[in-house]
Amino acid sequence: MAYTNYQHWKTTPLGDTIVPHLSVIIPAYNEAERIVPSIGAIASYICDLGFDWELIIADDGSKDNTVALVEELGLANARVLRAAKNGGKGSAVKRGMLAARGRYRLFADADNSTPIEEVSKLLAKVDGSQAPRYDIAIGSRAAEGAQESNKSLLRRIFSGGLRMMVKYVLGINVRDTQCGFKLYTAEAAQRLHHAQTMMGFSFDLEVLYLAAKYGYTIAEVPVSWIDAPGSKVNPTKEAKRFIKDMAAIKRNDWRGAYAS
């Protein structure tokens, strides 16, 4: 039974009239080596959940053969959004979120660092099956009950002063802002990613800042996280960028750039 779900999803396009229950967006920059097993795990798990869904690979100007590799898989309900040049993770997530058609929209890192099975916990927070109902559910490696193996680089950058700044400068009341596993309702995704101006890794901060500003409710959900080797992040460069971008977020807001 289960495998037939996958086969059906793999071969039969949903068509334009059906609104997918879920869109899964994978931002991908030079992921030829890591992405196919992740797609397999995602497809297997989500197909078993039994609802209509679409997969979006938001390429970010990959210089390897990520795009061709994914297109050759021939998955009827997967789309590749190709970018001519590298714009940063934020740009890829933004394009993916705005192109998505799903009622709920998840972005997940290409390395399956947060196992896809965790999406069910996030879905329960936004789909009304559990009260209270939230607009956004974000994976968290800091919340009670989270399991983390092999701390990721960005997490380590964020463990010190930077996290205090996020809290006291931006007023973001979220313990783990950077987890690459976040789920939004269609409405929140449209509004937030439309307003998003940051294209690097700090887009997460900006989007969470905007979420609070626009009055969306956020559930922080403990998830497990197994960091995969193969990160392309330069920590010193990114730490500086985060500080600059936090200032930019405040400045944008004062100037009214985020006015609804």
């Binding site: 196919v36 097993p37 397999g40 795990a41 497809a43």
Partner: protein, 106 residues
């Protein structure tokens, strides 16, 4: 991931349990390097995910066994593992038996 070794007269079985990724490949590689078996059965029944490093380890094991005149046999693939093998086309390269959820497999 846990690896349990089970010795048979003419093959070694490795029972894997958990997420088989780059952090776990050394223990599988080490087990195979220690016993240098001609034939290996790898029981994937409890494997939840394999990444590209795990796949590369299995391919290398297959090459080594074939050089010794034996082979790697993959057993009891759960659905996610099976789909990962199909998408990477490695299902064509390996001998696979008792695939779960399947009647049509060769």
């Amino acid at each position: 991931m846990t690896v349990i070794e089970e010795f048979h007269p003419d093959y070694l079985t490795l029972h894997l349990d958990g997420r088989f990724d780059a952090h776990e490949t050394p223990q599988v590689r080490q087990s195979l390097a220690t016993h240098t078996p001609k034939n290996v059965h790898i029981n994937l029944e409890k494997v939840t995910f394999l990444d590209s490093a795990a796949l590369a380890t299995l391919v290398q094991a297959m090459k080594n066994c074939r050089e010794r005149g034996g082979d790697v046999v993959l057993c009891n693939m759960p659905q996610p593992v099976r789909i990962i093998f199909e998408l990477t086309r490695l299902d064509k390269a390996f001998k696979i038996i008792n695939t779960v959820h399947d009647a049509t497999q060769h």
